[in-house]
Symmetry: D2
Subunit: 367 residues, 4 copies
């Protein structure tokens, strides 16, 4: 069955492998009349770009986007927007060995089980490069949301055991350090820890947090299409994510109702909550508070140190995965998580336009 299509109204279809001809995405259902240029997309892709520092692979990925369709005179026409990023690296010489065994933590074994064989070049479709298509689509979704006054902001919350001090949260700092942490001091400690990981041929995990600000209340659908359910799917669909939390997240399990319930109050004529354990979502619908999502990301599976595994013949072997490996995925995942959150919130926002007869009538009377 298909797996590379996402969204009900703002629908994206991604394609491409790590070492194939390119990576791309078709965005179908984008509203007409949005100003959009390749620069809007490139800015997002650049945030995902590695190679700026030693904590990310130095592979020269220029990743330049070309918009192939859906734009006329600088504006979206309402028809599919096809975006393409040609791969610079199409190594195909050295994959025979890697095709012969199953790397721990990777999808090698499961792809072989599902499809009978796999494209082993750089992980094929299971590579992190697959997220380029998501990010390109996310740039559009975020731009639309911004025009509606909604902002999506993600950052690294922790790396290994090093947590940001959220009481000194500094939004500007996020893009100042290569680790995308909103706390310069934590970032400094984390860099030292990553140096140690590199030395030990090891890798580490971390946490990305994403906030959606100014989302109007009532977005999401009851029961299965809850906003938090869709955000959970969107974020968990990233290969390295192993947990998704909303608001207080796992902490609710140890909490009591008296502690966890967020009291409503009115300030300046607006409904507010004294706390936000709910993470901006009640009964699956946005409540007007900040939407708070957290993703726990596993340590990079490709590590330089010796590992034990099994090859296709069923023999026990030891492997050393060649090449240079990122000791951490987290900072590069920040913009991808922001993208998936933006796409999901936009899709449900558009869906919410049909929920009330009075608003539907008004819409068509005014048209």
């Amino acid at each position: 069955m298909f797996g590379s299509t996402y969204g009900n109204i703002f629908k994206i279809s991604t394609w491409g492998e790590s070492h194939g001809k390119g990576i791309g995405v078709v965005v179908d259902g984008c509203p007409a009349g949005l100003s959009l240029s390749e620069e809007d997309i490139q800015r997002y892709l650049d945030r995902r770009k590695p190679g700026q520092n030693k904590y990310a692979t130095p592979r020269k990925e220029s990743d330049s986007v070309v918009i192939m369709s859906g734009i006329f005179q600088g504006k979206t026409t309402g028809t599919p927007i096809s975006m393409m990023i040609l791969n610079k690296t199409q190594r195909s010489e050295d994959y025979d060995e890697i095709a012969s065994y199953y790397r721990p933590g990777h999808a090698d074994y499961t792809f072989d089980m599902k499809y009978g064989f796999r494209d082993p070049r750089g992980g094929g479709r299971a590579s992190g490069r697959e997220t380029i298509g998501r990010t390109a689509a996310g740039a559009i979704a975020a731009k639309i949301l911004k025009e509606l006054g909604i902002e999506v902001l993600a950052y690294t919350k922790s790396i290994g055991n090093i947590d940001c001090d959220m009481s000194i949260f500094d939004e500007e700092e996020i893009n100042n350090n290569p680790l995308k942490m909103p706390d310069a001091n934590a970032a400094k400690k984390a860099r030292a820890y990553l140096d140690q990981c590199i030395e030990e041929e090891n890798s580490t995990g971390g946490v990305v947090e994403c906030i959606v600000k100014h989302c109007p209340p009532g977005i999401g659908e009851p029961v299965f299409e809850k906003l938090d359910a869709n955000l959970a799917k969107a974020i968990m669909s990233l290969g390295a994510v192993k947990a998704v939390e909303i608001g207080a997240g796992t902490q609710v399990a140890k909490s009591t109702g008296q502690e966890n319930n967020d009291s409503f109050y009115i300030e300046d004529g607006k409904m507010k909550k004294r706390t936000n354990h709910a993470g901006g979502i009640l009964g699956g619908l946005s409540d007007g508070s900040d939407i708070v999502i957290r993703a726990s990301i596993k340590p990079t599976s490709s590590i330089a140190s010796l590992q034990q595994t099994v090859n296709k013949k069923g023999e026990h072997i030891e492997i050393n995965i060649q090449g240079r490996h990122d000791p951490i995925i987290v900072p590069r995942a920040v913009v991808v998580i922001e993208s998936m959150a933006a796409i999901t919130v936009l899709d449900m926002l558009l869906a919410s336009m049909t929920s009330r007869m009075d608003k539907i009538k008004e819409f068509f009377v005014r048209s």
Copy 2:
């Protein structure tokens, strides 16, 4: 937009409100030829039934299911299976007050924002009774999986700060205690803690864990339709769930690659992993190990103690929610989580049948 339909191939559509005429579900896409009776469904609904002890509401919910369609001579015909549970309690007298204000932790405010008004009787569609439809459908999914050798098992892993000792995991114990814990000793402590909660007019959260055993490798689809992504959506779509974890879950963020990678090995000619931090899913596809899902469930929002909130007129008020309230939702959620996991795994298992040309050819040649 619609929100009460779930699944791509095995598709379920639920309906009904807490105090309306009834609750139901239509299962469309169930394979033909499955033996199915109302008893098969009732057994699942009974596991969700409250009132057996003081930790769950004593409301007499007999919740008897009637199968309205889709069965002929005791077997499914392949056409929609409509199941209905009539509500015994259709209180409609006393909801004027509750309609006038917004209960903390409930969906009252967000439903009003979305739809302009709401059915306030017992929470309407946002009531936990909505999960009856899911459970009835889950009973069918679980029965199909069982015929294919796949088992789904959920239980309470912790209540407040009381964790089960998983080293003495006792599957039989799960249904021996009303808290559905696989550790009799933990269950005893948890009962004492719940007694305290009741006394303090408070409530508590907890964790449900769900294991899927013997799922063949390769189930799930790459990119957006990953098995873990769909499980996350399925479980997060339960109103009280605020976090979903797969395998090592949030622990991966503090782990290293050397610790977290699961080594493959062969035993008795079968591929195995020395650890299961991945929770049975690699690259979004099942790897043949146990699939491990964990849900963090918030404390019951309806508590007896005084709470501050706002009414529809925008006035600050204090409320005492009347009636008796469960101090905990967790044990009743066990069978619901099991149901959502079963539906999701079945749906993706069926989807996986079309992934390979050789198997498709064989299928049609043999037909």
Copy 3:
């Protein structure tokens, strides 16, 4: 795979067999705030009701609808509307013979091939009674459209070789005669022809035409989700329909561009077309003219005269299908086609709300 669910936003799921416990439909995605009562639905079901005359089966089908959910204080709440019609006739005694062979023109053979067996009671799920669910949902869709100023009107255009004279089209006459023809004279001739069919133990086909008035321009989506494409699917999904035409329909194949092109002109400041060969749809989008759909309906497959066929053992046999049979399906199909057109137009109308940035902005700014 599922087959009983229809619609993207206004989504309906039908269930039930001819001689099972009942027939029903769940409407998910209906906007909140619509006044809706069982009378609104019943009026549509009564138009489908047979037994008023000798041209339709005298089976006493009271077909009384009960709304089970989704309404509070006379208004839709935005949550699923479950509607149920209990079957009065649950004959189950006499289906052994009918289960043993394959009736020409019926789905007996194909259901057996697909599912391995079938519910033979009155045709099971393949019975015309299945359309009751569609009609109940259509009543809601038509009511919403009416509030938006859009009307859907269907009628019998021809029976056998007897065509209505459209130059004397009389809308009031449609409900005056049991054949739903807008031409009293044609209806009279058709009745004589049907008497002849009955005498000859034969049946006849006919044509239903459906007009959608005042649909705003621009409804439908380019490429695969064209309005006419969806209407064609909706109407062709009725078991007895073998052709669907839009506007000039099959006549376009013999026409020239100079004849077939509809010239635009302006009248009273409004865009109009001098002819309507396009049937109100250009490039898959409504153009503001009347949308014109025509369905060719085959003669009733169940006829009293002797027929040759094959039984399950593969033997050639002759059969006499017992019971009284309608000599024609056409008049009863009128309200069903109206319903399918209404559901389709509504669904695409709601979908069209998200096509332009300026209107989306205005919508959310005003909300």
Copy 4:
């Protein structure tokens, strides 16, 4: 809302405008292990190519396909297959005039109404060039079907009033004449008629018929997802199609049950029908006979002769559409209709794999 995505399991997403950078399609859900090359696709695209004769536009469209992803070592990997055809002609100079008015029979007006403006270059997304993406995807679907023994064959059945004599149907002849008619004599007459159309600055319509051979019985889903319903949508989604017929089509309306019912019989141990008025589909499911689909195609809307219309300012004007125009679309539509039929039958064939418990069990036991 999205409109350029089609299919449930074998899902295609097309993109591109007539005079943009290119045209493309992403096929998601293609089974792994199919041998596939660019030549397989090119062969289909070449059948759609114009310019071989004076009845089709001489525009040099080389339309060379590039496969961007989803293939490894000559075989499909199960991941999305992205195909791209760069446009040679990107005229953008001369569209100011055409953007200023509404051509009769075209989607100019309706696109403006839907999106607020349009890409006027060569019709933009509403151009016939959009069908290139469908044809590329159709080539894959047809190849898969062929491996399963199923063939899809389309041809021109009539042009204007000139019908092929089906009693001398000659499959080889179809590709011998530029009009794709299976009757050389009719083709000769049709060419003379087209010469006359060109002289009169006029155009003509025609009929394409498509046969699907050897489709196993039981393909399709009851109620809304009937095989004929989906074929009707697929074919009606082509811009110039105004009627879709299955089997006897519109003729059933004038037929009687005794004439129209197809008698079953057994020959060589196989179930057959003495006639095929049903067109191979009973109750929405394939019955093992040839599936017969007919599409009525309107005359080319772009004609050289003077036409009356309205411009954007609302003024009545007369226009002469510049450039050379095809006097007929029909022969070029043949391969597109074949493609849409192949995609639809394949998609429903794959969907049918999950309809029976016994076959599901067997599938997983053998896996």
